[in-house]
Subunit: 79 residues, 2 copies
């Protein structure tokens, strides 16, 4: 079973990497980019076969390690 | 209009960051994680209002800057 975790900085947390991308896109001539946020995506191959159990386990991984929940939010998709 | 770009290393390209996550999850007691790949997600706020035009422009951004197409693949979603 595959799971995809998307980790983004929470709204209001400064994202210098996203800001750098926005600026660079402007330099390259892409107008009309009003904001950029960059995050991480983590794709996991799991041996679990039960969808609900897999989701619970991946959420535990996020809380324990994959995301810093003080400043980041995460979304789990089971594929 | 919002767009989401997901950039992943192509299959066959070594992903040491993903491998480090896999190892760390094992250390934390999460068994059954067979593989991990880490990528980037970039969320763009665009002033464009035409969906097809926005998709074409975001793909151009990927080819020019957001992804290194030699070793990375990208996926564009217009939200």
């Amino acid at each position: 079973m595959k799971a995809r975790v998307t980790v983004m900085l929470k709204n209001g947390v400064l994202d210098p990497q996203g800001e750098a991308i926005r600026h660079a896109l402007g330099t390259l001539g892409f107008a009309g980019v009003e904001g950029v946020r960059q995050g991480k995506v983590i794709e996991l191959d799991l041996s679990a076969t039960d969808k609900a159990a897999a989701e619970t386990e991946v959420k535990a991984m996020c809380e324990k390690m994959l995301a810093n929940t003080v400043i980041e939010s995460y979304r789990v998709e089971i594929l």
